[in-house]
């Protein structure tokens, strides 16, 4: 009897919802499709995110791409956005090296679905530091100074050049699936709060800053920059008001497990599990990192108390503290709690015909103006690392059995990475003279009262706040790392001189940052 009642209710609700939908202006009808694909390689690969190479040693949890296909209107002129969120450290886009995962995906998708334009496809990285390296298609020796064969000691392993097309194939297949599955739907817009991203830069009393330093020191003055604990959320519903998926946008990179040799999607894996557990297995979670170049999930002050709470919350089975699964689960709880808490409010406030616009622009940004002193300093460092690299390489030559030792390549690959890092400064210095501006891709997508604004950087939080503060949208989702990265630091941070703000870490400086803010706001304002 109850079941019959429920069926009638559901039928009535469906008819009612469909009538509402059918009566509306077709040009504004939103269609939504979702899919997820596993992009975990089946052989060991290079893991991206540290100076030293890591050849993966298994899988902690799958690395995935989640795809959201949106279409508003009918026919060839319909507005479309394909949003792809990848468990990767960055999305190569040709900006820093030869690899271009973004365009590999776009080419395949456009070939499969000609009505989709390349510029309607946005790919963002969650910045997990435990996912395959996709930044270059060069031979591994050219990336890390050691061949893949040597690293793997003759065992099977997959190079980035091999992995990138495989990942692109799988993601494109996922896009086709999401596109085919798209169905009429609605959205609701939510704002929650979760303390996940913490500023990782400490200003010292003498005026300089450092990243991940010890705050338990009389020299510690303050945390250099700000934090943003807002959680921008967009829920998607089918016509039966069933939740199909949710975008979670948080100002934090997912790098708890950043030293892992096992592949992992980091805290997004745990977050997806926690959301699905409460809201249903079929619910998709699309993860976005807001401006968070100076943020990390690592606790800088009060970590002992945090660790104890992880234990007491029942997450301590596999260790607690920095880099632990307990910390990931604690973060997942905070994120999922907010998503779940808002669920009924969001369900009662669905918008079926949101305004939907998508614009892409190539924005020329000023490269960071480097000085001859910057070059001299970096070159000097490169020379030191060259000597170290040569020494370690000679050791390998003299003692070839060394490659039988697990992870033997750590120090030599650090030296090579730092050597390359020193050399790029002079390359950038020369480039700035002839090409003072560099075009970067910015997407602005308006959905209802919300706007999404992308950038390819590890963008320092202040820039994101500046955009949010001046944006006419009720909620502004900043999405960083829709490209290959590079920090974009503030002037304050450059003066502090910590890792993310030094010349070797940056393509752009504060001038480029100010231009990015201004250009992004111009694009947003046009939509309002």
């Amino acid at each position: 009897m109850i079941c019959l009642k429920q069926c009638f209710s559901l039928l009535f609700l469906s008819i009612f919802s469909f009538q509402n939908y059918a009566q509306s202006d077709k040009d504004k009808n939103l269609k939504v499709g979702w899919s997820t694909v596993d992009i975990t390689p089946d052989k060991p690969v290079l893991v991206a995110g540290q100076f030293h190479a890591r050849l993966s040693e298994g899988v902690m949890d799958p690395v995935t791409a989640t795809i959201l296909a949106l279409e508003s209107g009918e026919g060839t002129n319909s507005e479309k956005t394909i949003w792809i969120s990848c468990d990767l450290v960055g999305i190569s886009d040709g900006m820093r090296a030869t690899a271009n995962l973004r365009d590999e995906i776009r080419t395949r998708v456009v070939k499969a679905i000609p009505s989709i334009l390349p510029e309607q496809i946005i790919v963002n990285a969650t910045h997990t530091h435990a996912a395959p390296y996709v930044a270059s298609i060069a031979a591994v020796e050219g990336i890390y100074g050691v061949s893949l064969d040597q690293m793997a000691n003759g065992k099977p392993a997959m190079s980035p050049a091999t992995y990138i097309p495989i990942a692109a194939d799988r993601i494109a297949q996922g896009v086709v699936k999401a596109w085919k599955k798209r169905n009429p739907g609605g959205i609701s817009l939510g704002l929650g709060h979760a303390v996940v991203g913490l500023n990782r830069l400490q200003a010292l009393k003498h005026g300089k800053s450092r990243m991940y330093g010890n705050t338990n020191s009389p020299e510690f003055s303050h945390i250099e920059g700000h934090e943003d604990h807002s959680l921008n959320l967009m829920y998607f519903w089918d016509l039966n008001k069933q939740l199909t998926g949710v975008i979670i946008n948080v100002a934090a990179p997912s790098q708890v497990s950043e030293h892992s040799y096992k592949l992992s999607a980091d805290f997004w894996h745990d977050t997806k599990l926690a959301v699905k557990k409460s809201l249903g297995d079929s619910v998709y979670v699309l993860a976005q990192a807001s401006a968070a170049g100076d943020q990390s999930p690592h606790v800088m002050v009060g970590s002992k108390a945090e660790e104890r709470m992880q234990q007491l919350l029942g997450f301590g089975e596999e260790g607690t503290g920095r880099g632990s699964l307990a910390q990931r689960k604690q973060i997942a709880k905070r994120l999922a709690d907010e998503v779940i808490d808002l669920f009924p409010v969001m369900k009662a406030n669905i918008e079926w015909q949101p305004e939907f616009k998508h614009e892409k622009k190539l924005v020329p940004l000023s490269r960071r103006l480097l000085s001859p002193e910057d070059v001299a300093e970096a070159t000097e460092e490169a020379e030191i690392w060259q000597a170290e690299y040569d020494k370690l390489k000679a050791e390998v030559h003299d003692n070839p059995d060394i490659i039988k030792t697990p992870r033997w390549y750590k120090n030599i690959t650090i030296s090579y990475s730092k050597l390359r890092r020193g050399l790029v400064v002079s390359e950038r210095y020369e480039l700035e003279k002839t090409q003072p501006k560099m075009p970067i891709e910015v997407h602005v997508v308006r959905i209802g009262d919300a706007v999404f604004a992308t950038n390819p950087f590890e963008l320092y939080l202040d820039y994101g706040m500046q955009m949010k503060a001046q944006s006419p949208a009720i909620q502004t989702f900043i999405v960083q790392l829709t490209g290959s990265g590079s920090y974009l630091p503030t002037q304050r941070s450059i003066e502090g001189g910590a890792y993310g703000a030094v010349p070797a870490s940056t393509l752009m400086g504060p001038e480029g940052g100010a231009e990015l803010v201004e250009e992004t706001l111009t694009l947003i304002n046009k939509m309002w």
């Binding site: 807002s230 002050v301 104890r308």
Partner: protein
């Protein structure tokens, strides 16, 4: 003179003994009491420069007392009182202590401290100088002070008499309830609570601390008696109202008592939050929309977030209760160097005071807007004159540092900028460090800003707002950390 020297030697000897002697873990005794301190209406409320007379009490005002005691040779005591007030004048603290001492001669009254939640809709407590309050038709400051002292001291006595064996657990959660209110612009200047939707907006000047530190106390029958909630945010969401209102602490208490029992005593502690406010500084529209969708007022929304953090902590720590623990309460008078008043500061303040006096003389009604500001600047004039007599002016501050099991509690008398609190927490040996600001104020309170705030300027970092400056702030941090270190270095037998 000889007696003074002798007293000093005795004090130092006692303190040295206190700080080096081993102690034993002891049974904790607890007593708790909540008392209504809502004034008789109408009443002048404080927190703005202009005079406001409240005709209505939108919520009750509360003082919550918590007595902690261990007994025997190493026994100690702390009497902590959280008050819905903007500030607690030092002379009022002294009156409460005297009153309690009169009724409980055996008590060490110096172990009593009071903190203000910093609600801007509570009565004036400074005896003079804040506003020109009408002599009739409104509750007089001296009468409210008398009422306050009677009520609070009676509550302390009652809590003291009812103290009994109990236990405690500590927890930590998160709630976004305080936002940095100092805005940095492209030219390097700062504004307080100023606009962010400008192209010149660059960043927020300082940090935020979203930790919610909690203490839970149970009696020996396992009944929850009291909850302490520490939040780095002053309760001033409704700060402009012409009304009496306990601000967000009222719905916090309502929510907690609804869930945990109507007799549960709730102490609200404001952690270092001199540069923090509960007001949104950007994305306000989105926050307001969510609040409206939930059908909550802004104070209720803040309470919702705080209560969620309390709930999470309670669920996690409720089974980890400590009844025998190391409990020590260190009290000292800490001398902090006062901020230097320049001649320019002096001349400008003097000119302002002169001008204000003339305006008030011409139109007495102008006092409603000018009187407090005039006195605020006149303090600077007087400080400069004192400084000429003795350039090394020191501000005497009552410092309380408590070790309660694994946690530390430390007080200060300022609206302390969050960086100082974070420095203490970062360097503290305690598992959790509860910083409590505004535990006694000279006049009607004073900000303690960082150097970068002083450089940026704006209301809370200018000379009239600061008796103690960044240099004194660091002395406060260093000494607090030093005392915590000493308390932790003791071997517990």
């Amino acid at each position: 003179m000889v007696e003074k020297i002798f007293n000093k030697i005795a004090t130092v000897t006692c303190l040295t003994f206190f700080l080096v002697a081993p102690v034993v873990a002891s049974q904790l005794y607890i007593g708790a009491k909540t008392v209504d301190i809502t004034p008789q209406l109408p009443v002048a409320v404080t927190g703005q420069f202009h005079l406001r007379i409240a005709e209505v009490a939108e919520t009750p005002l509360i003082a919550s007392v918590m007595v902690l005691e261990t007994r025997g040779f190493d026994g100690d005591l702390a009497v902590m009182v959280s008050c819905d007030a903007l500030y607690i004048p030092k002379d009022l603290v002294a009156l409460v202590r005297q009153r309690v001492k009169k009724q409980l001669p055996g008590i060490d009254e110096n172990k009593i401290f009071l903190n203000a939640t910093h609600t801007h809709t509570a009565p004036v407590l400074a005896l003079e100088g804040e506003y020109l309050i009408p002599k009739t038709g409104v509750t007089q400051v001296k009468d409210y002070r008398h009422f306050f002292v009677e009520k609070v001291s009676a509550a302390i006595v009652e809590a003291w008499k009812e103290r009994a064996p109990g236990s405690v657990a500590w927890g930590m959660g998160y709630a976004v309830a305080g936002y940095n209110r100092r805005i940095v612009y492209a030219d390097g200047t700062s504004g307080m609570s100023s606009k962010t939707n400008l192209p010149e907006f660059r960043s927020f000047e300082g940090s935020e601390d979203h930790n919610v530190n909690t203490l839970f106390f149970w009696d020996d029958k396992g009944k929850l008696v009291s909850i302490v909630v520490g939040v780095a945010s002053p309760s001033q969401e409704v700060e402009g109202r012409h009304a009496v209102n306990a601000d967000y602490w009222h719905p916090v208490r309502e929510g907690i008592t609804e869930k945990y029992g109507k007799e549960v005593n709730v102490l609200g502690w404001a952690a270092a939050a001199g540069d923090i406010t509960p007001h949104m500084r950007y994305r306000k529209e989105a926050d307001d929309r969510m609040r409206n969708l939930r059908n909550l007022s802004r104070t209720e929304e803040l309470a919702r977030r705080i209560i969620l953090a309390v709930d999470e902590s309670y669920d996690a720590v409720a089974s980890e209760r400590h009844s025998d623990l190391d409990f020590r309460h260190h009290v000292e008078e800490l001398s902090l160097p006062e901020r230097w008043v320049t001649e320019k500061n002096y001349l400008e303040a003097k000119a302002f005071v002169q001008n204000a006096k003339e305006q008030i003389a011409e139109d007495p009604k102008a006092a409603d807007a000018l009187y407090r500001m005039m006195n605020w600047q006149e303090r600077t004039v007087k400080r400069y004159e004192k400084q000429l007599e003795n350039p090394k002016q020191l501000y005497p501050m009552d410092l309380h540092v408590i070790k309660l099991g694994d946690i530390a509690i430390c007080t200060n008398e300022f609206e302390l900028f969050s960086d100082f609190g974070i420095r203490m927490i970062a360097r503290s040996k305690a598992l959790q460090t509860f910083v409590i600001q505004l535990t006694g104020s000279s006049d009607w309170g004073s900000y303690l800003p960082t150097q970068r705030a002083v450089n940026g300027g704006a209301y809370s970092a200018i000379i009239h707002s600061n008796i103690v400056g960044p240099e004194g702030g660091q002395v406060l941090v260093d000494r607090t950390v030093e005392v915590i270190d000493q308390l932790w270095n003791k071997e517990v037998k």
